[in-house]
Each structure stands twice: as structure tokens, then as C-alpha cells.
């Protein structure tokens, strides 16, 4: 007698699984409309202290000190680009690591794990809705922030968007590795918050990394996100870049593949260890 699994995995079934996961998350997201609203206003709230702080450092609305580092005195446009990109960075971190923690708490992680779907596919599925909602909320946020603080792109929006794509795909590698750590440590909030904060901070979301203390700059230079943010700003705002933009794009493309591979490896190993320990469903 030949044993065969009841499932018939194929590209079609995988796509259906992705769609089902995304649809479920979409329903949950819009079930709490206040949370949707807050995701528009939350980034504005975070950058408001920077706006007023910048005023305390500026004369006649121009931050001359900031311009000496970045090549632009328009620090709010600089920060707004960083904020939009960091929304997506957060989405990948939260989307995977935090989703696993929610499943643990709700007691559905083990049953989801028993479905005949690759686990990485489950993780990717959990980000689809959040990427879409982040796009919607970030666009709304950018419109509102433009009215409140002013946003003046002087370069090519299309080239900047194209450059952002390999950066975001590479982030999935980070997200896979991070999801593995959440499985192991069974606590997501602190890990997600600290991880996101450190990565965003060192990659220069709110400031040019040239202004970092010299002993922190090597850490920034090791993060592919640094080049992504730098290149996007260079194309959109014509700021000074660390390296020629073409070199930064090449680094992004290379690191995208490396990060995806390393992230998937880490996740698979940790996930196997967790199953061996029998702690998958614990929280």
C-alpha cells in the first residue's frame, strides 16, 4: 500500500492559501477601524516632536546644521521619506514576528503549522494585507503631513519607487530570521520594537548617518537598508549620497538575495529546533 498525503500542493493551492491568509487579515484589520485610523496618524505623531525640535535648531525655517550633513535644509521632507519607508520596515517586522505571537496566544499556531503549506508561505501571507494597508495609510499620511509640515520632492518619484522595491524584498529576509527568534523566545513586543528601532536608527531613517558618532557608522554601513534609504532620498530629494547611486542600487540587489537566503535558513533551523523541543504551541 502506498501512503499518500491528502493534500495536493501546487502553485494554485499555494496562491489560494496566500489569498485566504490575506483575506482573513484584511477582515481583521478593517474590523477595528480605529486602529486603521491610528496607523495614519501614528507616524505624524512620531515626527511632530522632530518638527518642533527642528524649529528649535533652525533660523528662519532653515536648518543650516542639518544641511551641512545631508545637502538639504528641508529636514522635514528628509524625515518624511524616512518615515514612509520605515512604515514598510515595521510592517515586515510586525507582519511576521508579531503575527506568530498572536497565533501563539490565540492557540492556533500549531493547527496552522499542520496545514500542508510551506511555513515561509504562511509568513509571507501574513504581510500581504499589511503591505497593502501600509501603502494606503502611508499615502494618506504623506498627504496630511505635506499639508502640516510641507513635503517638497525635487527629484524622480518613479526612480525612487523602483529603488525601494529590492530594499523591501530584502527586508523579508530580516523578517524570516526575526520570526524564528520570536518562535524561540515566545515574546514579540520587545523584540519587534527593539529590533525595528535599532535597524531604523542605524540605517538613518530620521537623520543622515554621517552625523552618527564615528564608532557607530560601521554598523550603519553594514545594513543594506542604509543604502536603500540613502539612494531613495538621493533620487527623490537630491540629497548627498554616501556612494554613487548606481553602486548603492547594486548593493541593494545583491543584499536582497543574500538576506532572503540567510533569513530563510535561520527560520528553518529555529523552527525545527522549536518543534524538536515541543515548545511550538507554548506562550
Amino acid at each position: 500500500m502506498q501512503l499518500s498525503t491528502l493534500s495536493q500542493p501546487s502553485l494554485k493551492t499555494y496562491l489560494r492559501a496566500l489569498f485566504v491568509i490575506a483575506r482573513k487579515d484584511w477582515k481583521v484589520f478593517w474590523r477595528y477601524p480605529l486602529n486603521a485610523l491610528s496607523s495614519v496618524f501614528q507616524p505624524i505623531i512620531w515626527i511632530t516632536p522632530v518638527y518642533f525640535m527642528g524649529k528649535a535648531f533652525s533660523t528662519n525655517g532653515q536648518a543650516a546644521g542639518f544641511a551641512a550633513y545631508s545637502g538639504t535644509g528641508d529636514y522635514m521632507s528628509y524625515i518624511l521619506v524616512g518615515t514612509v519607508l520605515s512604515n514598510f520596515i515595521m510592517t515586515v517586522f510586525w507582519g511576521m514576528g508579531y503575527a506568530l505571537k498572536n497565533d501563539m496566544d490565540a492557540g492556533v499556531l500549531e493547527s496552522n503549522w499542520l496545514t500542508p503549506i510551506p511555513r515561509l508561505l504562511i509568513l509571507v501571507g501574513r504581510t500581504l494585507t499589511s503591505i497593502l494597508t501600509t501603502t494606503i495609510t502611508s499615502a494618506t499620511m504623506l498627504i496630511l503631513a505635506s499639508l502640516l509640515f510641507g513635503f517638497k520632492p525635487t527629484g524622480s518619484t518613479f526612480a525612487a519607487l523602483l529603488t525601494a522595491i529590492p530594499m523591501l524584498v530584502g527586508l523579508y529576509g530580516f523578517g524570516f530570521a526575526f520570526a524564528g527568534i520570536v518562535l524561540l523566545m515566545r515574546e514579540a513586543n520587545t523584540l519587534v520594537d527593539v529590533g525595528s528601532f535599532l535597524v531604523q536608527g542605524f540605517s538613518g531613517t530620521n537623520f543622515p548617518i554621517q552625523s552618527l558618532p564615528y564608532w557607530l557608522i560601521p554598523i550603519s554601513l553594514m545594513l543594506p537598508l542604509t543604502y536603500g534609504l540613502d539612494a531613495v532620498r538621493g533620487l527623490l530629494l537630491k540629497t548627498n549620497t554616501l556612494l554613487p547611486i548606481s553602486t548603492e542600487i547594486a548593493i541593494l540587489l545583491f543584499s536582497m538575495f543574500v538576506m532572503l537566503w540567510i533569513g530563510a535558513q535561520i527560520f528553518h533551523r529555529v523552527e525545527r529546533k522549536v518543534r524538536t523541543l515541543g515548545t511550538l504551541g507554548q506562550h
Binding site: Y32, T48, F52, F57, S58, A64, G65, T190, L198, N206
Partner: protein, 289 residues
């Protein structure tokens, strides 16, 4: 012969039993707090990295030649911009952590499915909230101490003021900060997913209370609004207590409103709890999530 049966509760409520309940809740919260190793990260890393984002932005705004810093000093009167930012962000983090920890205490019980069974015990229900505050205040005191230590060691930030005055300002802030947490926790029993409310409250502190800038830089209407937030007085008073030789007399303009807000928010917190807890039981929403 006719026998009468008077139903009688098995519980023997009294002051001591309430204290015991309070301690039991505190002990449970402490066990949960230390159960997850990431609390060490939270305690040591957060005090450093959250202010760092603003400090590094301020550093970039200062410019390589410090020209922006001269403008900042002229605007704020503060020579140590790192210390200035740390006080504001630490107060913000304190309120934020209380909203998540105390504010979601009952909601977490709902999610775990233990709220209804706890509610059936013959205990003063408010002790479930009060019990949360004990470990919370201890961990926050550690948090503030670690913040001062880390920034002192790594960035040379010196607290030139009196530690007694800093302690006094913090003590005076406890009723307002935790009272708000109690009111919030009660609200969460009814409205369930209340993350947006946390974002709203902490957002108001972030925008209006001058965590990284002087309130005087805000437009007039924002300054008027800031006067209605206790954290504005806490941040202002803490900066004076930490970096100047301000005594009680100099701190009174901050202490008095802070204590008044404290009395107000404690009362609001307690009565909101009584009202919404009763409402949740009547509507049957107590165990729903």
C-alpha cells in the same frame, strides 16, 4: 419544624483579605514580568534607544560645526540637549508603559479567559488593577535609575540637581499617571481593542508636552492645550529638578498642578472602573473578546 437557610458567601472579606489579594496579584504580575527574558532587554535597551532616535536627530540638526546647537541653546536655555531630551522621553515612556501594562491589565485577563473566574472570587475587584501597579512602579523606578546610569556613563550626562527633588517630582506624578491608567483599563473592558486610544493619549503627550522641545515654541492654542496635561508640568519640573538647583519653592508651580491632576485622575480612574465594570457585567461583555 421549619428550617431557614440564609445563603452566605464563602468569602470572608476584610481589610487583611484585601491586602492578601493585592499581594497575590502583585506576586503573579512579578512572576509574569520575570518569566520572559526579554524584560532584561526592555529594561536596559529601551531607556537607551528611544531617546537615541531624538538625540541623534538633534545631533544631525546641530551640524558638524555646532551652528544649530547654538540656536537651540539660545531658544531653550538648556546647554545639555541630551539631558533635555532624556527627561522628556523618559516621562513619555513612563506614561506609555503604564498605559500598556496597567491599561491592558484587565484586557489581558479577558484574552486569557481568566477575567470571569477572577471576578467570581470574593475579592475587591479594584485590587486586580491596584495589584498591577506595585511591580510596575518597582520596574519603572529601575527603568529611571538605569536611564540615568546609562546616559551618565555613555554620554556624560550629569544630574546637577537634587536627587530628593527628582524623587519628589516622580512621587507627585504617580497619582496622575496611574489614575489615567486605571481610567483607561476600565474603558478597555468595554471597548476591547483600544490600541488606538493608547496611541491617542501617548500621542498627545508627545505632541503637546514638549518632550524634545520647549512648550513655548508651540503655537498659542497648542500651549493652552498643553496646560491641561499633567505631563507638561512633570517634564518641566523634572528638568528643573534634574539640571538646576531648584528647591521645593521653585518646583511648586509644577508640583501643585501635578498633584491636583493626580487627585482628579485617581477619582476619575476609580469611578470609571466602578461604572464600566458594572456596565460590562450587565451587558455580559465582561468575558467577551
Amino acid at each position: 419544624m421549619e428550617t431557614t437557610f440564609i445563603p452566605r458567601s464563602l468569602g470572608q472579606p476584610g481589610f487583611l483579605s484585601e491586602v492578601r489579594a493585592f499581594l497575590a496579584v502583585s506576586r503573579r504580575e512579578w512572576i509574569i514580568f520575570t518569566r520572559y527574558p526579554s524584560w532584561i532587554i526592555a529594561l536596559f535597551i529601551w531607556p537607551l534607544i528611544f531617546p537615541m532616535m531624538y538625540i541623534l536627530t538633534a545631533r544631525a540638526l546641530s551640524g558638524p560645526d555646532g551652528s544649530g546647537l547654538a540656536v537651540f541653546i539660545a531658544t531653550t536655555g538648556a546647554t545639555d540637549y541630551i539631558g533635555y531630551i532624556i527627561v522628556g522621553t523618559t516621562v513619555w515612556m513612563w506614561q506609555n508603559i503604564v498605559l500598556w501594562d496597567v491599561g491592558f491589565a484587565l484586557r489581558n485577563e479577558q484574552m486569557r479567559g481568566t477575567l470571569e473566574s477572577n471576578w467570581l472570587t470574593p475579592t475587591w475587584r479594584f485590587s486586580y488593577l491596584l495589584g498591577q501597579t506595585g511591580p510596575q512602579i518597582i520596574s519603572m523606578a529601575m527603568f529611571v535609575g538605569i536611564t540615568a546610569l546609562e546616559f551618565g556613563l555613555l554620554f556624560g550626562v550629569r544630574l546637577n540637581g537634587s536627587p530628593w527633588m527628582i524623587g519628589l517630582m516622580m512621587l507627585a506624578a504617580i497619582p496622575a499617571i496611574y489614575g489615567l491608567g486605571f481610567a483607561f483599563a476600565s474603558l478597555v473592558i468595554t471597548v476591547k481593542e483600544a490600541n488606538a486610544f493608547v496611541f491617542l493619549i501617548r500621542g498627545m503627550v508627545m505632541i503637546f508636552c514638549g518632550i524634545t522641545f520647549p512648550v513655548a515654541i508651540l503655537p498659542g492654542w497648542m500651549q493652552s492645550f498643553a496646560k491641561w496635561l499633567p505631563q507638561t508640568y512633570l517634564i518641566h519640573g523634572m528638568r528643573a529638578a534634574a539640571f538646576t538647583n531648584a528647591g521645593i519653592k521653585e518646583l511648586l508651580p509644577d508640583l501643585l498642578p501635578l498633584l491636583s491632576f493626580g487627585a482628579f485622575w485617581l477619582a476619575v480612574g476609580y469611578f470609571t472602573f466602578l461604572w464600566l465594570e458594572r456596565r460590562a457585567r450587565k451587558t455580559g461583555a465582561i468575558g467577551q473578546y
